[in-house]
Amino acid sequence: MTSLASSPPAPEAALNRIADALYLRRGLLLTLLLVPPLLWLGVVYAGSLFALLLQSFFSIDEFSGTIVRELTLKTYGELLAPANADVILRTITMAAAVTVGSALLGFPIAYYAARYAKGRMKAVFYLAVMMPLWSSYLVKVYAWKMLLAREGAVAWTAGATGLMPVIDAALGLPIIGGPSLSVSYLGQWLVFVYLWLPFMILPVQAALERVPGSLIEASADLGAQPRQTFRHIILPLALPGVAAGSIFTFSLTLGDYILPQIIGPSSLLLGQAVYMLQGTAGNIPLAAAFAFIPIAVMALYLLAAKRLGAFDAF
């Protein structure tokens, strides 16, 4: 038999044979590539999630404080107690407000980056959006506490420019106001939006980048004014990106337990409740039941987004 290829030295020949085999049997390559991540996802991730959820169906013995390993819905019932339901409602409201704020602030930036920024400006955009992610989360939160404090930079700047009445008016509002920005829901919302904004901007920008410029021209050509083009063409096509971004901003807010300890009023958010229940209180079942809430909320949220056609565009 004559070989089509010239024969290389032995070690190279072995490598070549592996390359040939992998090329010809795509399934083999795919299996080799997928086994490690699937093990990770399946065993470590889904497994621990399952273990956690299982805990939520146990209950705690009120006298001894020990966990009763019998399946029951009693713990979920406890979630409905006014104090716990309050935590859930407050957290979902905050997450929704943060998501809306991020979308409103992030969309114009993403739109500019996708449609107008070219070359160097695009690099500057990525740098500016990603830069906050380079520094420590904790440092950023404490920095914001300093900025928002009664004697902080924000108040000082407002005083110097005569804008203090605006801040005072905002802090005078019921519920979201408070003695200072750093201990009010307003300040808490502000810092949440600051933290999660990049997670909204990037997917929206990616979605907008896939919208060809000719669609916007075609819309104008067919008589649509810019606001009509935005309403009928740009927004529907960017919606998958907004949905993806809101998954980040919503779920990150639902689970955060450090920021609300440092900024905002003393009332708990969901993440803090879980943190305290599994730590100082030692009530693992209730902590697990609480942890189930974000999963359920996100599932419902995605279902609603799908119903509304957020993923229809492509």
Partner: protein, 356 residues
């Protein structure tokens, strides 16, 4: 009266009477991108009801001209009028023109009916009425029954028809077509050429058609403008453009031609001027016959033969220059390396005014 004659009369009327404004008029229009003069001091008049082709190689400024008419670009100098109204400061959504885009630009999140009805929806036409008119437009472009499909579920030819219906449903005064047939295969392209031509005739709308395909421009339009480097090198009926090109560029770009330098032309029995000689006007003749009829001609060795089905191209090295002749299938075969005598009638040698 031929279509060409009608077009010429229309042109004459449009330019002589101030009461019948041209559909589109360019007066000294320039558009500059950085250092590139994409459109360079163009004057142009497109009479109402004409099928007007803008023909040129890529980067010659024809698409920019179309975008200037549509309003996607604003001129840096000069004035554009559409039916007598200055249009230079009007945004696209205030112009009575519609565009069929090269990539069709169909809205991916809307179905065929919604795509076609988009302009009517924006214009505030109520739902039942706009759906009725959208269906009518779809029937006009011979695409019924696909109203509920998404653009992604259509073939290239179907998308093209949707794009056409979407533009026509708004009853524009001028329809702009940006290389609309470029992405279609040959058979479909020929079919669409005929349909577009018929549509234009029956609707009476002014069509401005951008193409780099000279065959398309010649076969479909009443008049053609040839673009090169941001300027119009010649405007005329297809016949004028083909038979009486003004420049080397026009002669070579449209139909392909042998362009003879003055000295070569003189040596081949023509005037001592730059001359265009179409390949199909050259015949291979026995030397004695040509001499007897006193025809201009040349003798040379055949260096290449290309088979094209309906004709054959032979390349002949005639010492002073290479000539290309297109021979009908019925002509005697010529083989590589053979010495042949080429001849043509004196009228076939058309004097060119300039290089560009």
């Amino acid at each position: 009266m031929s279509v060409h004659d009608k077009a010429r009369i229309a042109t004459a009327q449009a330019s002589s009477s101030p009461f019948v404004p041209a559909a589109v008029e360019f007066q000294g229009v320039s558009r500059i991108f950085g250092t590139v003069r994409a459109v360079d001091d163009i004057n142009l008049e497109i009479p109402a009801g004409e099928f007007f082709a803008m023909l040129g190689p890529s980067g010659s400024g024809k698409t920019t001209c179309l975008r200037l008419i549509a309003g996607f670009e604003q001129p840096d100098a000069g004035e554009i009028t559409i039916f007598g109204e200055p249009a230079s400061s009007l945004p696209p959504f205030r112009r009575c023109v519609n565009t069929v885009f090269q990539d069709y630009a169909l809205f991916p999140h809307l179905n065929v009916l919604q795509n076609v009805a988009y302009g009517l929806m924006i214009g505030g036409v109520e739902r039942g009425e706009r759906e009725r008119r959208a269906k009518q437009a779809l029937a006009m472009v011979k695409l019924p029954g696909l109203e509920a499909r998404r653009p992604a579920q259509l073939s290239g030819g179907q998308r093209q028809r949707v794009a056409l219906a979407r533009a026509l449903v708004n009853e524009p005064k001028v329809l702009l077509l940006d290389e609309p047939l470029g992405a279609l295969d040959l058979k479909l392209r020929e079919e669409m050429q005929i349909e577009l031509k018929n549509l234009q005739r029956s609707l009476g709308i002014t069509f401005v058609f951008v193409t780099h395909d000279q065959g398309e421009a010649l076969s479909m339009s009443n008049r053609v403008a040839i673009f090169n480097a941001g300027r119009i090198v010649q405007t005329g009926t297809p016949q004028e453009i083909y038979e009486r090109p003004k420049s080397r560029f026009a002669a070579e770009f449209v139909g392909g031609s042998n362009v003879l330098e003055p000295a070569v032309s003189a040596r081949f029995g023509g005037p001592e001027r730059l001359v265009s000689l179409r390949p199909e006007s050259i015949a291979v003749t026995p030397a004695e016959a040509a001499a007897a009829l006193n025809l201009p001609g040349a003798e040379g060795r055949c260096t290449d033969v290309q088979y094209h089905g309906s004709y054959r191209r032979i390349f002949v090295d005639c010492g002073g220059g290479r000539l290309v002749a297109a021979l009908p299938p019925s002509s005697a075969p010529v083989s590589l390396g053979e010495t042949v005598r080429l001849s043509w009638s004196p009228g076939a040698m058309h004097v060119l005014e300039s290089e560009e």
